[in-house]
């Protein structure tokens, strides 16, 4: 760290710590209520692997993991919102 840099750990550690505990508590709640098999939760768990990566570009790869990778337009938009993870396909 050079003398002019802000200490990013000082700035961001507590925020990251809070978010990590939030996620852990969310997963605990899902387990308690038997909802851990939801396709969005499965996608989230697959994306977790990127958090332990040593390679830069984690945010991009997490977003990729939570994206629809099909290429053709869908036949019709039946809703206007999005769910955060693509639906499971058979």
């Amino acid at each position: 760290m050079s003398g002019n840099d802000s200490n990013l750990v000082d700035l961001g550690f507590l925020d990251a710590r809070i978010k990590l505990i939030d996620i852990a508590a969310f997963l605990d709640r899902l387990d308690r209520h038997g909802q851990a098999d939801d396709y969005r939760v499965k996608a989230l768990r697959e994306a977790f692997a990127e958090l332990d990566s040593k390679e830069p570009g984690r945010a991009s790869r997490v977003l990729d993991a939570l994206s629809d990778h099909t290429e053709e337009p869908i036949e019709a938009a039946e809703i206007q919102g999005a769910f955060g993870a693509p639906p499971e396909t058979d």
Binding site: G57, L63, A77
Partner: protein, 178 residues
């Protein structure tokens, strides 16, 4: 800015804001007719610039039917037919926010027709990319649609709402450096 209160304009002025630009947007519900859009286009080309001017803020806007309302091609075409009349307004910057929402065939067709309006009237383009899981696919489809229009200058297109996974795609493909 149509959803902002007069106090918001005051806060913007106090913060030193000199100008705002307002893309045509989904109102939070689907409008029932093209006439609703006619009134909306009047609001953002006539009324909002006057409201902003009271606070010494310049107001600019973009015109389109948002992709969230593009699933009905009949309505979308009626709305797009209104656009050329409003392009003469001095505060109009171009066509936008056009793009995709759920990446459907109708949305893509209406996007293509918006791009054609921009091309025909030599307008800037402001692009809305989809949300969450739909963003990556939608950004790719939008860029393909733009690149299919050979007369569209990528330097006159803004792709908004990019995230870490779509920003490089927009920069690299948009600048023709594939």
């Amino acid at each position: 800015m149509v959803s902002r209160t007069t106090d918001d304009y005051m806060a913007l002025a106090c913060a030193g804001c000199k100008a705002v630009n307002e893309p045509a947007f989904w109102a939070g519900y689907d409008r029932a007719s093209a006439q609703g859009f006619y009134d909306y286009f009047r609001q953002i080309t006539e009324y909002e610039p006057k409201r902003a001017a009271k606070f010494c803020i310049e107001h600019y806007c973009w015109l389109c039917i948002n992709p969230k309302e593009a699933e009905d091609p009949g309505l979308a075409r009626e709305v797009m037919a209104l656009i050329p009349e409003f392009l003469k307004s001095p505060n109009v910057l171009g066509i936008g926010e056009i793009g995709l929402n759920k990446n459907s065939r109708n949305e893509l067709m209406i996007l293509e027709e918006h791009i054609q309006i921009a091309e025909d009237h030599d307008q800037l383009i402001l692009v809305h990319t989809p949300h969450l899981e739909d963003k990556l696919k939608g950004t790719k489809l939008i860029i393909d649609a733009l690149l299919n229009h050979s007369k569209i200058n990528p330097g006159r297109v803004i792709i908004d709402h990019v995230e870490e996974h779509t920003a490089p795609l927009s920069w690299i493909r948009g600048s023709g450096q594939e």
